[in-house]
């Protein structure tokens, strides 16, 4: 999309138009902006997701399963192939009895809890510590895993704030026959959380791999899986009731959709972007963001301001600055005027260094292939994210500087 089309298209924009615009690549910097009213993402595929093990508040079936283990009276082989989740659960019971049923909260307490596991079995006369052929004590691997995972396994189970925000959103609150299934199911999950879930999301149902024999692992995995299925079924009931209340058939959302939603309940994302009109209007543009970024005069924000100024130059002169060699020098002043008029119109009290004005004239609207390729690849993937509702799109202006190989995302 060419630069100069911007001004024409601004008027034509209606709210809710999904638009991923890749600005004409005029030089060694480029930017593209996103103005989608909002996009919902169920499968955000977060990089470092915490497990949903419920060790702080085990559900009934998990409690019973843990109870079925008697660590103190097990054969050595069984003992060293007991999943670390069971080990931590058992030692947590001990800890609770000595600490007024409070979770280990800070580093000191977690360290004490780890120590409890290390020392544990000595009290119960079964040597937990193996010795290798040299007689050096070695810890059982599954107990090593337990100790290593104490840090993350004991985090209190709660609804992440992003998910809370979704529950509190207007679209979730007011379900109509037009509501997309994302919001219908969200409302259903919210009902679950506030009732059967006791403030917790449906159980995710997956556990990480860990040292264990097949039988113990599969049985434990099934405990979580079965609970996840049960919870999803309850959510389904809520969704069904909801659909009925707005006169939609129950087949409007599939079992698979609901299951997928429940499994990803902790990772739901909604990305709300402002429109181009909002970005450009003197009344609604993001003055604070621009001003604070420009505190550092070499911030990528200066590139955004330059690109907007080049827009103006084109509007005034029907050409880009510095295309021909003889123009470079004289266009510097002309471009500077555009910069100043932009800053004035938006009452921006920021300093745009002359070097950047010179640089943009130097570019003469050149579009180096490698810069275009970088932006093209990025923009293409963002489009795919929006279309597939998987992974999280950026919000909403991305600036890339190929000179320094740096980039920044601004919400404008």
């Amino acid at each position: 999309i060419d630069n100069y089309d911007f001004c024409h298209n601004r008027a034509a924009l209606s709210s809710g138009t999904e638009r991923l615009t890749c600005n004409s690549i005029t030089l060694l910097k480029c930017h593209f902006g996103l103005s989608v009213s909002f996009t919902t993402v169920v499968e955000s595929h977060p990089d470092n997701a915490l497990e949903d093990l419920r060790l702080d508040q085990p559900f009934t079936e998990l409690k019973h399963h843990v109870e079925s283990y008697d660590l103190d009276n097990m054969e050595k082989k069984d003992h060293s192939h007991t999943p670390w989740i069971i080990v931590v659960a058992k030692y947590l019971e001990k800890w609770y009895s000595e600490h007024n049923s409070q979770l280990p909260k800070n580093y000191k307490e977690k360290e004490a809890f780890r120590q409890l596991i290390r020392e544990g079995n000595v009290i119960h006369h079964i040597p937990r510590i193996l010795t290798n052929e040299n007689g050096t004590p070695e810890d059982e691997e599954n107990f090593e895993e337990a100790i290593k995972n104490v840090n993350t396994a004991l985090n209190p189970t709660k609804v992440p704030s992003a998910t809370e925000d979704i529950f509190n959103a207007e679209q979730c609150e007011n379900i109509t026959s037009q509501s997309p299934s994302f919001w219908v199911i969200a409302h259903g999950v919210r009902d679950f959380v506030r009732n059967e879930g006791n403030g917790k999301l449906p159980v995710r149902g997956t556990i990480p791999d860990m040292i264990a024999d097949s039988d113990k692992f599969i049985k434990l995995q099934n405990v979580y899986r079965d609970k996840a299925m049960k919870d999803a079924a309850v959510v389904s009931k809520h969704v069904e009731a909801l659909l009925q209340s707005v006169g939609k058939p129950p087949e409007s959302t599939s079992e698979q959709e609901i299951k997928l939603f429940c499994k990803n309940a902790a990772f739901l994302r909604v990305v709300r972007c402002r429109s181009l009109a909002e970005e450009y209007s003197v009344d609604t543009f993001n003055k604070d963001e621009i001003t604070s970024c420009m505190d550092s005069t070499d911030s990528e924000m200066v590139l955004y301001l330059m690109l907007r100024s080049v827009d103006r130059f084109y509007q005034q002169h029907s050409r880009y600055p510095g295309v021909y060699n003889y123009q470079v020098e004289e266009d510097i002043n002309k471009l500077k005027l555009c910069v100043n008029s932009l800053l004035q119109e938006y009452s921006l009290n920021v300093n745009v260094k002359d070097d950047y004005i010179h640089e943009f004239c130097r570019y003469g609207a050149a579009e180096p292939h490698t810069v275009a390729a970088f932006l093209g690849g990025s923009a293409a993937q963002e489009a795919i994210k929006i279309i597939t509702h998987q992974f999280v799109p950026f919000n909403n202006t991305f600036l890339y500087n190929a000179m320094s190989q740096t980039s920044a995302t601004f919400q404008l």
């Binding site: 050149a366 190989q405 995302t409």
Partner: protein, 462 residues
Amino acid sequence: MAEGEEPEKKRRRIEELNENMVVDGGSGDHTDWQGRWDHVKKFLERVGPFTHPDFEPSTESLQFLLDTCKILVIGAGGLGCELLKDLALSGFRHIHVVDMDTIDVSNLNRQFLFRPKDVGRPKAEVAADFVNGRVPGCNVVPHFKKIQDLDETFYRQFHIVVCGLDSVVARRWMNGMLLSLLIYEDGVLDLSSIIPLIDGGTEGFKGNARVILPGMTACIDCTLELYPPQINFPMCTIASMPRLPEHCVEYVRMLLWPKEKPFGDGVGLDGDDPTHIQWVYQKSLERAAEFSITGVTYRLTQGVVKRIIPAVASTNAVIAAACATEVFKIATSAYVPLNNYLVFNDVDGLYTYTFEAERKENCSACSQVPQDLQFPPSAKLQEILDYLTENASLQMKSPAITTTLDGKNKTLYLQTVASIEERTRPNLNKTLKELGLVDGQELAVADVTTPQTVLFKLNFIS
């Protein structure tokens, strides 16, 4: 075309249009049409406030790019295709490409220089053909070889080497090769012997691009710890305690196949043969059923056997573009090159992080300092072997250890030749003292991760 246009007028119009079309230039046509390199020229012929301190605008820079500059591209796969395109369209004409692989149908979704008819052909050759046909004047020379099959006389001819590899071992080898080309005079590095190495890597939605000036900036081995360890399942899990569907597939691949030889003696498992995968899949299902494990699918089976890591076309486009930008900057001195490591991740929004990776003082590849080995004389040779393979900064694969004893070269242990492995195996259980090694003994270690031997110095501790 207007309807009812005279045929002669129409013919001339079509001719005119074709003249302006650059797509079907055809190879062998070296004439540059008007304005072809205008975009590039602006960066080479004009002064600017952000250029490299050494930069001087001139019309000769473009000629250097077009006629003289020689670039080596390693890999013609996901990154390689993008790199070749980017370089060719940026004005580079003398490009060599090395790739030992042939084209697989699964490559076609992103390795866009290839077509279905090319499946089975060497990647380097098809890539070269395509680019030469598509970009008039470009001369890509293919090498259907392993990088290790080419020697220093080959590598020495290039101004810049850019890698789009998929293995850390290959990267380290390339790194070592360029380091071996460095010339030191009286301990001072001859700057003209430096061949910059631009390295790109991608995995799913993540990627990185880095600039290495061998002998001057951090090399691949300086930052070896940045590479996450390869995950291999422990044998006891595979053999007797599977829990995941992947464990079942590995069981069939590693234990059952060699035992049952389903397709005949000496026939290895071929991940690209659907009949092989089907067999593994069926057996994996049986294994899984034994342990009540769910989740074995044909796709999962293939993924495990071929060690498939999902590839995303856009990540390759982005990282290759960043690398090609650096090639351009270095070749022309137009701007200061990336200093020196860029990380990219678009799982959540678009994220980049740029930092300067530091050289390691005692890097086993580039520091020229003999590596210290601290062991008691009672330690067994096996312990040194384990250290060489397990240490995070060394991560050797199958090191061969030799030393000089009584003035003669002696092989202490070597794995890669069966007869020598057998002969030297007893040494692994002997102590360093028993082997006749003394404090300060120099050990020379060869390994697939480096084209040159690495020198170690034994430092006896009590």
